[in-house]
């Protein structure tokens, strides 16, 4: 019992310290053209709000305190793989310097549940990509070769040791770390593979591997988008990956 009281206090302390940082940023909405699509498949994105930061370890700790069934040792194996919260030392402990780093090694199920418990949800790929197009100065950063090269440069470096939230850049909307920190889950991360109805028999391998990738893409030079597409496609909902986190929208 004694342990539980201390534990709860630990959760509260973190909560008040960190929650001040994450806030929802309104996004006007707009048109998103998926990487593999025809003009007729433009996606209209309605206005929404997005977290300005990725979810941190401290915030996720708060969540597992409230919902112990999502603790490292208790989460159902149907919903997480063996790497779930692998970087945490215990059900409720991780190295102190990780508090403000984005939580990784979380499954899609866990991320979705986290957002729902905050009264939010995971962003759709269209919503996420719409915000990710923004550079520091422009809502459509892809027009800027320097922006594209910056995105590629991130991949050309090993994963940085210091991955505090806010350590990359704030885009024109005021949203941090859309690129350069860790990849992010989206609600429909695998939909490009399962809904191929208007693209004939274009399946995973047709789209993704070798020559196949070049046929149906609108934007062959957007290598960073190809990498995000490939990353999402390699996932299953229970996978927990060391450089994959998430943020929520409303």
């Amino acid at each position: 019992m004694h342990k539980i009281i201390i534990f709860a206090f630990f959760c509260l302390a973190l909560n008040s310290e960190i929650s001040a940082q994450t806030k929802l940023i309104p996004i006007d909405g707009g048109i998103y053209l998926p990487l593999y699509s025809l003009d007729s498949q433009k996606v209209a994105v309605a206005p929404f709000k997005i977290d300005n930061y990725q979810v941190s370890n401290a915030e996720f700790l708060d969540f597992v305190c409230q919902y112990p069934e999502w603790q490292k040792s208790k989460a159902k194996k149907l919903f997480v793989d063996a790497n779930y919260l692998r970087h945490w030392t215990d059900d409720e402990y991780f190295a102190p310097e990780m508090a403000n780093q984005p939580v990784v090694n979380v499954s899609w199920f866990a991320a979705k549940k986290y957002c729902e418990c905050q009264g939010k949800r995971l962003p759709t790929t269209a919503e996420w990509e719409l915000v990710a197009q923004a550079s520091q100065k422009d809502k459509n950063g892809y027009k800027d070769e320097n922006f594209n090269q910056w995105l590629l440069d991130w991949v050309a470096k090993p994963a940085p040791k210091n991955r505090n939230r806010g350590s990359t850049f704030k885009n024109v909307y005021g949203v941090y770390d859309m690129h350069g920190l860790v990849w992010e889950w989206t609600h429909d991360f695998n939909s490009a593979l399962t809904t191929g109805e208007s693209r004939g028999n274009s399946d995973l391998s047709d789209n993704l591997f070798c020559g196949g990738g070049s046929f149906s893409s609108k934007d062959l030079r957007n290598y960073a988008a190809f990498m995000r597409f490939a990353m999402r496609s390699s996932l299953k909902a229970k996978y927990c990956v060391g450089n994959l986190g998430f943020r929520c929208v409303q």
Binding site: Q149, V155, P158, F226, S234, L235, G242
Partner: protein, 476 residues
Amino acid sequence: MKTVRIYQTILLALSAMFLVVACKNSNNEGSHEQYGKLYQNLVEPVKGEEIAVLTSAPEVPPPITRKHATKVIVNLEVIEKDMPMMDGVTYNYWTFGGDVPGKFIRIRQGDLVEFHLKNHPDNKLPHNIDLHAVSGEGGGAAATFTAPGHETQFTFTAMNQGLFVYHCATAPVGMHIANGMYGLILVEPKEGLSPVDKEFYVMQGDFYTRGGYGQSGRQPFSMEKALKEQPDYVVFNGHVGALIGDKSLKARAGEKVRLFVGNGGPNLVSSFHVIGEIFDNVHREGGSQPDHNIQTTLVPAGGAAITEFKLDVPSNYILVDHSIFRAFNKGALAMLSVEGEENKAIYSGQQDDRIYLPEGGAIQEMPDEPAEPVKPMSKEEKITAGKSIYASTCQACHQADGKGIDGAFPPLAASDYFASDPNKLVSAIRNGLSGKITVNGKAYDGVMPKQTLSDREISAVATYVLNSFGNKGGEK
């Protein structure tokens, strides 16, 4: 509390049992007996099981001696890591097994290969593998599409013999290959390959960096240059100088050598040539029928060749891409260092060097006008004149920045070779220089021919060199 723990233990045990059962099921699906039955009529019965020996270039796994097909388990790990492209240049390579090219895989025709692709948890990206030795969807690409921190498995039968490239085929494919994701898999014919004394693994690749050749620091991948197919580096075995100096391939005169030569690309086709040798046999593109007496063989991007030759005499044989600017300016240079007994009948070496006068010894052309007495040049004039002489005479080897080419042409920049005695510089220009020398801590063993320059020109270019490239000055 105790009850809860027991309950948890039971739950754990139950889920563990469930897992075991699940695993067993999937094992059954892939069991080698089942595949054996499936495939025994296709090629030949599969007997036994072994784990493949994988080697890093330039090493090659030992020849296969067994006379039957077997089940071979291949474990290949993808690792993204920083390594030097050349001295002072860092590149983030994506590798099959920790270096470029990827590990060499050696199997026999008819083998049943259970392939495991492991994507290291610290990697940023998903990867997969397309083995050109595989008959089937994507060469295994779709079956091995692997998220970081995961491992995938598929099985294939090696239907065709040959030397095959494997590579990553995850979008954007060009970038995965450009970062080093390629290697070779040899499928030996049932009867094996003819015995040789030495086998080596050499694989060419082109690299595209933001900075130009030799620009120091971390160099990220340049998509622009890759699209234009204008590489800064064209190298054997992943790095400039990977097979130069101490790391040269080594053999003895009289030995038979087999080179497994691959080309990962992503863009360039290689004009593979060994300076001073003639290939006795070439299995073009790894095929079954050898051609004989070949000087230069084309190795396509995503292709390979087997070259075999007997080393008749000792020499430093230079492996090049004979699209020759790549060799001298982009790094496509390797060395096969061969020691042993000379055979003057096969190769004499230089026998004489005598004056050659096209007009004949007796006729001399007289100048129309008496020559003006030449004024001595000032130091500044020497440096100005020397600069253009350097550009036309020296730069091709010693490079515009005076840094030379590692392992082949010694640096003139901040050189300790002539720092204490500038006459050594003049002597090298006037008389040429050959044999072993050490410059700035590195050994060179090449030949510089004497230069056809006047005393005045030698004085100018030597003064230019002494006052350039971080050398300490002086005048000759």
